[in-house]
Each structure stands twice: as C-alpha cells, then as structure tokens.
C-alpha cells in the first residue's frame, strides 16, 4: 500500500499529452501586499496606487513571480505531484503575456510535453507546458516547467 504521504503520480504513470486543470484563485491586494512584505519587492507599479495610475497598466498589477507562485501552488493542490516530486529543476521560459490586476481570478492549465529517463536510477524528468488563464479565458502567463519525478522503484537506492 502506498504511504499517505504519496498521493501524486509517479513518472511511469504520466503519458505524453496528458492535461490537468487546477481550481481558480482570485488574486487580491492581500496577496500582493504579503508578497511585498515577504520579498522586499517594493516596486511602485505593484505597491503605489497613484504611481500605478500613471503607467500603461492604469492600476496596480500583481508581480509576475507572484502570479507564477500562486500557479505552482494551484498545481500542487491537485495532489498530482504530492510526494512524487524529487525536485523542481527549472523553467525553460516564462512569458508574461498580459498583466494580472488585483481582483482578477486565475487558474492553471497544464500539459505534459516531454518525458525523459534520468541516467540515475529511480527518477525521470518531465516537462509541462503551463498556461495561467484569467476569468476572461485570456492567457496571462505561459511557461515550460521541468520537474524531477520519482519512479515507482529504484528511488530508495539513490
């Protein structure tokens, strides 16, 4: 029987082309403000209402990294990666396509586009194309995320 710590899919269980769609989250002023406290990222476009009015966005926007962080949280809440992620290796690219304004609601849609065995036993690499989409169905960010996943056997021998 599997351990209760492991609810996620192992490397072997994923098929190329498989998709997921997460629940949605409204990005609030609280997210932007707490992110500011946590990171020290006090850039005016995110933190000053009057300054934000003078920019091309016209109002405060959520930092791109915050949008992407909420997105990775949404993906983890699907439990598809719980206990089976060994490491988040990186991202090939992130494009910030459209701004996310305070009050927008976002969700993440992902698709497995690449699977590659690792040379080391017990692990494999998967690449997901992930789009973050707002309440109007517009893509706000687009990225390719690279994850090291456990295989069903062989991981204990690392």
């Amino acid at each position: 029987m599997g351990s209760k710590d492991i609810a996620g899919k192992y490397y072997e269980d994923w098929e190329l082309g498989e998709e997921y769609e997460t629940a949605a989250t409204t990005v609030t002023e609280a997210h932007v403000w707490i992110n500011m406290y946590l990171t020290g990222y006090y850039s005016l476009i995110h933190t000053d209402i009057d300054y934000a009015k003078s920019t091309i966005f016209g109002e405060r926007v959520a930092p791109g990294f915050l949008v992407h962080s909420i997105s990775t949280g949404q993906v983890n809440q699907t439990r598809l990666f719980e206990g089976t992620t060994i490491a988040f290796l990186g991202i090939k690219y992130i494009n910030f396509v459209k701004p996310v304004k305070i009050g927008d609601t976002i969700k993440t849609v992902g698709k497995l586009i690449e699977k590659k065995d690792s040379k080391k036993p017990g692990r494999g690499i998967v690449v997901f194309h992930a789009r973050v989409v707002n309440q109007r169905g517009e893509t706000v960010t687009e990225s390719e995320r690279i994850i090291l996943l456990r295989k069903k056997i062989g991981f204990e021998n690392i």
Binding site: T25, L44, K92, F96
Partner: protein
C-alpha cells in the same frame, strides 16, 4: 531662511534608464537568510503545501534531507533584493519574461542568498522601446550557485519614448 527653492531628492525615478546600462555592467545585492518562517509564509501565500516544503518527517527521507525552500520563494526574494538596489525604480516599463531558469541547488532554512546580475543584451524594438536582458545568478553563503536565469525587461528611455 533656508533655500525653499531647493527641490528635495525625488525617490520616484531613482533607477537607470536604458541608455545608462552597458553590456557587461554588473550588480551584486545584499544577502538575506531564508528561514523556516519564509517557507511557511510562502506555502500559505502560494498554496504550495508540497510536503518537501512543509512536512519535516517526510522531507527527512527525501532528496534534500530536510524541508527545502520553494524555488519560487528563492526567486521572489532574489528579485526583492535586486529591487532594493533601486537600479530599476521608476524606469522599468515592463517585465517581459524569463528564460533558462534553473534551480541547481536546494536552499535550506538557514542558508543566505544574494543576487548577482549582469547585462548581456540590449536592443530596441521597431517602436523604439528599449529591451535589456540580464543574466542573474543567485548564490548562497558558500558561494555556490543555487539558481540562475535570464530576465528580459522593457526599460524607459531618456527621450521618454
């Protein structure tokens, strides 16, 4: 009387404009220790409660041997450290995106990180907008690289285009 006509230093535009940056220019930020507090708060903020970040009993048996900071926590703190250098204050028009983001080493509670950035590319769009690409490395207190990326920004021009 004091010189009432003297303008106070404005903090609104303290950053460098597109023309002020040269290929090869570098910056190094201050360091900041990543602690359990940051990891707990970031799990709450992002909703990423993956047990490798939040469950010490589980994480002990895993790859890092203990809870590890979320990659995006490291990235977000790295960008905050850069922001505090005020090199981009009031002059960033847009953050266009990232390329080749790598998380090469785990950041564990108690590790300190700083960002080292370098201008690698400058170019103008057909509408005269200034685009700059920075290579940013994040290193820990042992000088080991924990993450690297290329960040692409639209930076304001002096001519106000």
């Amino acid at each position: 009387m004091e010189a009432e006509n003297k303008m106070p230093l404005s903090n609104l535009v303290a950053g460098k404009h597109y023309e002020d940056w040269n290929i090869g220019d570098e910056y190094i930020t201050a360091s900041r220790t990543i602690t359990e507090t940051d990891i707990v708060l970031f799990a709450g903020l992002s909703g990423d409660h993956n047990p490798m970040h939040t469950n010490e009993e589980f994480a002990k048996k895993g790859f890092f041997g203990t809870r590890v900071a979320h990659g995006f926590l490291v990235l977000a703190v790295s960008s905050g450290l850069i922001n505090q250098m005020r090199l981009f204050e009031g002059t960033t028009e847009a953050f266009l995106g990232l390329k080749d983001l790598k998380f090469s080493k785990g950041v564990l509670p108690g590790d300190s990180i700083k960002s080292i950035g370098k201008v690698i590319e400058k170019k103008e769009t057909s509408q005269g907008k200034g685009i700059i690409a920075f290579e940013v490395r994040v290193v820990n207190q042992r000088g080991e690289e924990v993450s690297s990326r290329i960040g692409v920004f639209m930076i304001k021009r002096k001519t106000g285009k």
